[in-house]
């Protein structure tokens, strides 16, 4: 156990070193590219918690990501200062998760039906925003329909809207958030609540026969995952100055699942690795045009489910243990 904690802190310190040290040596352009990987890694962690640890088959995690991005965008365009909008970007998906989660978990919807419904909810948002005309607005923020919302204001130093964060600072902030989320989730899973959630994943009936209310625990995990996904949505919108309905698309939700499958279902570091790896691959394919992205991702998806179902991290870990 102590070796594990040591490894954790070493990883965290290493990441923070990368966060604050890298900008000294590397072009801003490179950091901008890196930031999106970091943001996606945070999103991956949210699904790793919900699906990998708590065993909730959420095929619509991208909905929380999109909700966070849109909520932040609309709030910051109306308010000017980004501080409160960040919280709104976390709160809106979380509240939505509580409501849908209540119907799902207290209605005892399970497994594949849960996957169906969460996928449908994600598609509802996609269709809703795509079909809505460009004239819809909330306050002064245009919803943009299928074109999305360009010109999303960047994050600024809290209380000082005249002082936006530059790209280097966005990178550093995202890295810090990643480290905090990563450590935070490790801590959460070590608490009694976290261990009960894992037990529920293993055998829900037995967990309830031991006196734990599985519905409440799953609802809590689902909500926490939604908040984290929302946060990554906020960072994404602020980073790219853009948010659009593709964030709710079935393609994007598939990508998040592929990150987890490749990295290792049930692991946290694996989720980060999977996200970075696949994101890098997708970008590379987009640039070199060697093969259609969907062909490669689809093939990876199939191969991993059939041959490497545990994903990369556990497979490597077992290999090293031999």
């Amino acid at each position: 156990m102590r070796g594990k904690a040591l490894g954790l802190w070493a990883a965290a310190i290493g990441a923070l070193a990368l966060a604050f040290g890298l900008p000294l040596f590397v072009e801003t352009f490179f950091l901008v590219e890196l930031t999106v990987y970091v943001v996606m890694a945070i999103l991956a962690l949210s699904l790793a918690l919900v699906w990998g640890s708590a065993g909730i088959l959420n095929f619509g995690q991208s909905a929380f990501f999109g909700l966070g991005g849109y909520a932040y965008t609309i709030a910051v365009m109306n308010m000017g200062d980004s501080t409160v909008p960040i919280l709104i970007g976390i709160a809106v998906p979380a509240v939505f998760a509580v409501v849908t989660g209540y119907f799902l978990f207290y209605g005892r919807v399970s497994d594949i039906y849960l996957g169906t419904i969460t996928l449908c909810v994600s598609l509802i948002f996609f269709n809703l925003i795509n079909s809505s005309g460009a004239e819809y607005r909330i306050g002064i923020a245009p919803l943009g329909g299928n074109n999305g919302i360009p010109g999303v204001p960047p994050l600024n130093v809290p209380g000082n809207p005249e002082r936006p964060l530059d790209f280097d600072e966005m990178y550093m902030l995202s890295m810090v958030v990643l480290v905090l989320v990563y450590l935070g989730l490790h801590w959460l899973l070590a608490t009694r609540f976290g261990r009960v959630a894992v037990a529920i994943r293993e055998n829900e009936l037995r967990a309830e026969l031991l006196g734990y209310d599985a519905r409440l625990v799953k609802l809590a995990m689902f909500t926490i995952g939604a908040g984290i996904a929302g946060l990554s949505g906020v960072l994404f919108a602020a980073w790219g100055s853009f948010i659009g309905p593709t964030m709710f698309s079935i393609f994007f939700t598939a990508q998040i699942i592929i990150w987890i499958m490749v990295g290792g279902l049930g692991t946290l570091a694996g989720a980060v690795a999977g996200a970075v790896l696949i994101q890098w691959l997708t970008t590379w394919l987009g640039e070199t045009k060697i093969a259609d992205t969907n062909i490669v991702l689809g093939a990876i998806f199939v191969v991993f489910v059939l041959l490497v179902p545990r994903g990369i991290q556990p497979t490597i870990a077992r290999w090293l243990a031999r």
Binding site: R195, L205, L209, L210, Y212, A214
Partner: protein, 242 residues
């Protein structure tokens, strides 16, 4: 006469037109050890599942220390102090033995003493040297003992065991019988079983089910000599009523 720890009042359960449990009045005293037997289809499994909260009754009441628990949520029943072992072992296969027990103990013990309570239970079920193995990798009998360990760790008032020796070897059955007798020194126990050898090792009072009702309730010796019980098990026509 003090209130029985568990009592059913005119309990019924119908599936379509079939009455699986047909008006059962049943009572177990605090600290008692009761065995429920009966041929296949007698309704004992259905009755038992109602006691566990896994099925809701069609009619009637289930009173735990005087309070009606029929229709309660599963985790509520557990929190009242009723520990349940299901027919198919229900354990956390992907977690270690120690973690399995710990999850149960953590709900009832103060944070500081959980670990020692777990060690205690491990000793009682004889699984100390297997504490760090994954439950899924254990032998069938050992998995059952881990499940029993989880029940013990919850320090329940009442333990319900559904066929605890199913699939066990002779030696394992003997050890389980000892475990249950020891369990009974601290908790009331109700056991549903098929294995007559096992029943004989532990039984005091035995309730015999037949066609959804209680046929006879008596000591083990009396049951073994009861002609009606023999007929019911051998399938001869019996016009006896509970």
């Amino acid at each position: 006469m003090s209130e029985p720890i568990l009592r059913t009042v005119d309990l019924h359960r119908r599936f379509g037109g079939v009455a699986a449990v047909d008006g059962v009045n049943f009572a177990v005293e605090e600290g008692e050890l009761r065995c429920i037997i009966g041929p296949n289809g007698a309704g004992k499994s259905t009755f038992f599942k109602m006691l566990c909260g896994l099925i809701h009754p069609s009619a009637g009441r289930i009173l735990f220390r005087g309070e009606d628990i029929a229709g309660d949520e599963r985790h509520r029943i557990a929190r009242r102090g009723i520990a349940i072992k299901t027919q198919v072992p229900s354990v956390f296969d992907g977690l270690a033995v120690r973690e399995n027990i710990r999850l149960s103990a953590a709900r009832v013990q103060a944070a500081g003493v959980v670990d020692s309570a777990v060690t205690d239970v491990l000793a009682r079920i004889g699984m100390v040297e297997h504490a760090h193995r994954l439950v899924g990798q254990l032998a069938h009998g050992q998995r059952q003992w881990v499940e029993i360990g989880m029940l013990l760790a919850a320090e329940p008032a009442l333990v319900l065991l559904d066929e605890p020796t199913a699939g066990m070897t002779k030696d394992e059955v003997v050890r389980t019988a000892a475990l249950i007798r020891e369990m009974n020194t601290r908790h009331a126990v109700i056991v549903v079983e098929h294995d007559m050898q096992f029943i004989r090792m532990i039984a005091r009072t035995v309730t015999v089910f037949h066609q959804g009702r209680i046929l006879v309730e008596d000591s083990m010796d009396a049951i073994l000599k009861n002609a009606q019980v023999r007929d019911v098990y051998l399938g001869k026509r019996s016009d006896a009523h509970a």
